[in-house]
Amino acid sequence: MKEKLENILKEAQQLSHHIKNSEDLENFRVKFLGRQGLLSEIIKNIKDLPQEQRRELGSYFNFVKSEIQKIYDEKKEIILKPKTEYFDPYHPGEKIDAGRINLITKEFNIIREIFSKLNFNIEIGNEIVNEYENFDSLNIPPNHPSRDLWDTFWITKDLKNKNLLLRTHTSAHQVELLKKYKIPCRFVVLGKVFRHEATDQRHEIQFHQIEGVSVGQNSNISELKSVLSYFFENYFNKKLDILFRSSYFPFTEPSFEIDIECIFCNKKGCNVCKFSKFIEVAGAGMIHPFVLKQAGIDYEKNFGYAFGLGFERLVMLKYNINDIRYFHSGDLRFINQF
């Protein structure tokens, strides 16, 4: 019986070399491992043997069976496994269809972060404000030519002094926020503002402004200089010279305009700065006593500064964008670049 088993194993080993396809494989299985196969036949005979022989042969039988099974499994893997396709590692990857955060949000967040580091709280404010907030509280009285500096979209015209309008500047929140914060304080208002004007590459009916206010014993022009210089350096990732020029705003006194060194030509003169080497980016000044008084602040003892930056102007400079109208166009050719 043992001999028989040895022969079966030998035969199986020899035959294994001739298994070329799944048909051969199946024949092999039927012949050796099948229900009526050679091994099944043997097991039937083993059952009838005395106990001692049965134990001895049994373990040998298991050995043979597992060897044949092994052969079968190996061959099966080779034959039945599908042929590996050619894999091209240079095939382009899957296209990821993720959305995108708009450039306006991205740059806003950068600016928010810089001003947070400079100890400014961040505010948003309403877009619909009244005449007092946008004008009167800022020392821009009715029927005064200084109102002409802001072309306004009006919502109501018949409520005395409380007429509603779309804010023309984020300064509209100065008095309200000074009241809310108490002094000393620093805050920045970031938001959309509206101007009734004809649009072109540099003018839009809506754009964004960054209004900064600091009131307290150190809030003077020296601090303003260092705050803005830190801001520009961090926003443009470049140390930039800044230039203060005398100007006029009804709500600041002294008032000045702030230029930064042209980021395109390093003060050599180019088309962007119109060969002036500097580019105007902000208006600023020491808050007018009239405004402090509106906020209930003792203007004899306290002072502070305010500045306003044109958001799109900064972003356009940073990325060399030539038309302000892209920002609200919804044009993916623009949006997807950032």
Binding site: G99, R112, N119, E127, N218, N220, D331
Partner: protein, 674 residues
């Protein structure tokens, strides 16, 4: 304003280096540009009264450059009026006439102007009329104050300077009739209006070729009245521009003297003594007290005494007192903008130069506080971009056409859009009451732009302010809108709903419900309210084909608008860890056939309601409506997950509950269970 260099040079003792001057002007005074033979200067509105004329700008240049100022000397003879002749009496009947000088010039000769004057006026953009009128303009350009000439013969007896009466009529130089009201100041005689004060004279009193005698007016009017009148009538003139920005007595007197001097020199007529000289304003200004600590605080450091004194002197301020802590000074009369201590501070700092101010780092005032709204909106933006949506910023306005299309929808929301009184065009007539309306246009734009790529699927969102009128209150809120489009409705809608679910899941807003609008809204194929804790937090919709056609879009659009202020309060500030429930869940599947129009949300809601606290979750895993089903049926299959937090459920109770759910669905939705 443009200034010829030769005109400025007449007032400067030395020929300046103009390139340097422009540099100084830019830093210390006004934005300026130098051209070949002229300067273009953007004179600040508060400085126009002193620097908006040749003499004034030369004075400013002299101050910043230290080139001495050269002044003109005037002298002319005046004759006393013939007491036998009758001349008009001038009565000031309004407090808004601040100063008024009337002088007669008799036996005048009307000539045309010499070449130099014509050239001068041409450069400053004035038409030449005749020598006399031209000299009045010349004097104004040189010294800043408007003058006015009346033909004496055309005046009927006396003159009254008064407020206009309601509906009084004024005939302008160009023969246009204007209707006046009480805000307007007029110069009138017994029977007619001779001039709209500070703006324009009337045709009825105009100097012409036959004029023999004239009344010369040199006046100052209340700028507020001039501003109001010229804006209301839309009648802006050189004179009104100057009067609005106020005129100083000094400028008025210089202009008048300059003019009279030239009248005599050129033998154009005989100058009378004043027939009226009225003024309620004084030339001398009030003392300004300036606290030196305040000045040094602004400047950031102390300013040496000699520099301070030199600077004060250079702007012609008269020093009254110099104490340890403060100074008192009187600003020059021509600087009507200098009244407060801070005005003087500005003068001192700008003249010393902003460049000399040092940089000082800010010190800590308070701990920075986070803006929660911004934090949440950032979070939402991140969630939606992960879901494949791109952030857009659109205009905050909608058009007449938009309003018309969405009229039914807006009315059904019981709101009114906010109308802009003075829109730039009818594309921007209303402040947007919803954001999605403009996102539809963004879809149209990009379908066109990417047509060549055959790209047809777009997913956009925007977070921004919206506003509307409700019960006559103006309300401003923040919304989130998102919108999807694709060639197939199914794809578009499921993308949208997937994103909505993803958003709510991330914001931990559970058990959101969709409630169909009770009424059919024009242009909406489907419109649902999104509800959370019994509050409507937004809407979800499918736009009709008629609507997309109106925006030239030939494929389905689905969208949603979320009222952010309603969900901000629900967003949990802190997340807490919940240990996984150790009690095992029991899973059951239900498959049913229901009529094709059955609302899946409703079925889900019904199952949730019946399932009670032990029904943890339902998941729809299969929907189909073809094959062996009838045409008006569909098959729905749900996974139901039952679990109790506190104990292990047994099969029997779940089976009983499931039976109950199935019975209910059979009755309520005619469901056939498979």
């Amino acid at each position: 304003m443009k200034f010829r260099l030769i005109d400025l040079e007449t007032f400067l003792a030395k020929k300046p280096n103009w390139t340097k001057i422009v540099d100084l002007l830019n830093k210390k005074s006004f934005e300026s540009n130098l051209y070949k033979d002229y300067l273009e200067v953007d004179i600040l509105p508060n400085r126009f009264s002193d620097s908006g004329n040749i003499f004034g700008l030369a004075r400013e240049i002299s101050i910043i450059s230290n080139i001495p100022l050269k002044t003109e000397k005037f002298n002319y003879k005046t004759f006393s009026l013939d007491k036998n002749k009758k001349y008009p009496n001038i009565y000031i009947k309004t407090k808004n006439c601040l100063s008024y000088d009337g002088i007669l010039i008799t036996e005048i000769k009307i000539k045309s102007s010499p070449k130099w004057l014509k050239e001068f006026l041409e450069f400053y953009e004035f038409n030449s009329v005749n020598f006399l009128v031209d000299l009045a303009n010349y004097s104004m350009i040189k010294y800043g104050a408007p003058l006015h000439l009346f033909d004496l013969e055309k005046i009927n007896k006396n003159i009254y300077i008064r407020q206009a009466k309601e509906n009084e009529k004024f005939l302008s130089l160009k023969n246009t009739e204007y209707i006046l009201n009480f805000d307007d100041i007029v110069i009138a005689d017994e029977s007619k209006i001779l001039a709209l004060a500070g703006i324009q004279g009337s045709k009825l009193s105009e100097v012409d070729l036959n004029t023999k005698n004239i009344l010369l007016e040199s006046a100052i009017f209340n700028p507020v009245n001039i501003y109001k009148t010229s804006r209301r009538l839309n009648l802006q003139t050189q004179a009104s521009y100057r009067f609005e920005r106020n005129i100083s007595l000094s400028s008025k007197n210089f202009t008048l003297k300059c003019f009279l001097n030239l009248v005599e020199k050129n033998d154009l007529g005989k100058i009378s003594k004043n027939i009226i000289s009225y003024s309620q304003i004084k030339e001398s200004k009030k003392i300004v007290k300036l606290n030196l600590d305040k000045l040094f605080n602004y400047f950031g450091k102390e300013i040496p005494k000699n520099l301070l004194l030199k600077t004060i002197k250079s702007i012609n301020c008269k020093l009254v007192k110099y104490q340890k802590n403060y100074i008192e000074l009187i600003p020059p009369s021509y600087r009507i903008d200098l009244n407060l201590d801070v005005d003087i501070i500005e003068e001192i700092i700008r003249l010393i130069g902003y460049d000399s101010i040092e940089y000082k780092n800010p010190t800590f005032y308070h701990f920075p506080q986070e803006n929660h709204k911004l934090k949440y909106s950032d979070e939402i933006k991140n969630i939606l971009t992960k879901a494949g949506f791109t952030e857009i910023y659109t205009y905050s306005f909608i058009s007449d056409k938009d309003y018309e299309i969405f009229n039914d929808f807006i009315k059904n929301n019981k709101i009114e859009p906010i109308k802009i009184i003075n829109p730039v065009s009818n594309l921007f007539n209303f402040y947007r009451p919803f954001i999605f309306i403009n996102l539809i246009k963004v879809i149209a734009t990009n379908l066109n732009l990417f047509n060549w790529l055959r790209k047809k699927d777009f997913n956009f969102f925007e977070i921004g302010k919206i506003g509307y009128k409700k019960n006559n209150n103006f309300i401003e809120e923040e919304n989130l809108s998102f919108i999807t489009t694709d060639t197939e409705l199914k794809k578009s809608y499921f993308k949208l709903k997937g994103a909505l679910n993803y958003l709510f899941e991330n914001l931990k807003l559970e058990k959101i419900k969709y409630q169909p609008f009770s009424e059919k809204i024009k242009y909406f194929d489907n419109l649902n309210m999104i509800e959370y804790k019994n509050e409507t937090i937004g809407i979800l919709f499918i736009l009709s084909r008629d609507l997309t056609n109106k925006y030239d879009i030939k494929q389905p659009i689905t969208g949603s608008e979320i009222f952010l202020y309603k969900i901000y309060k629900f967003i949990k500030k802190e997340e807490t860890f919940k240990p996984p429930i150790s009690h095992p869940a029991i899973f059951r599947d239900i498959s049913m056939i229901v009529p094709i129009y059955t609302n899946i949300f409703e079925i889900e809601n019904e199952i949730y309601k019946l399932g009670g606290s032990i029904l943890e979750k339902i998941e729809l895993f299969d929907v189909y409506s073809e094959d062996n089903l009838l045409k008006d049926e569909k098959s729905l299959s749900f996974h139901l997950i039952f679990r109790d937090k506190k104990r292990t459920l047994n099969d029997e109770e779940v089976n009983t509950l499931l039976e109950k759910i199935i019975e209910n669905l059979k009755i309520k939705y005619k469901a056939k269970i498979r």
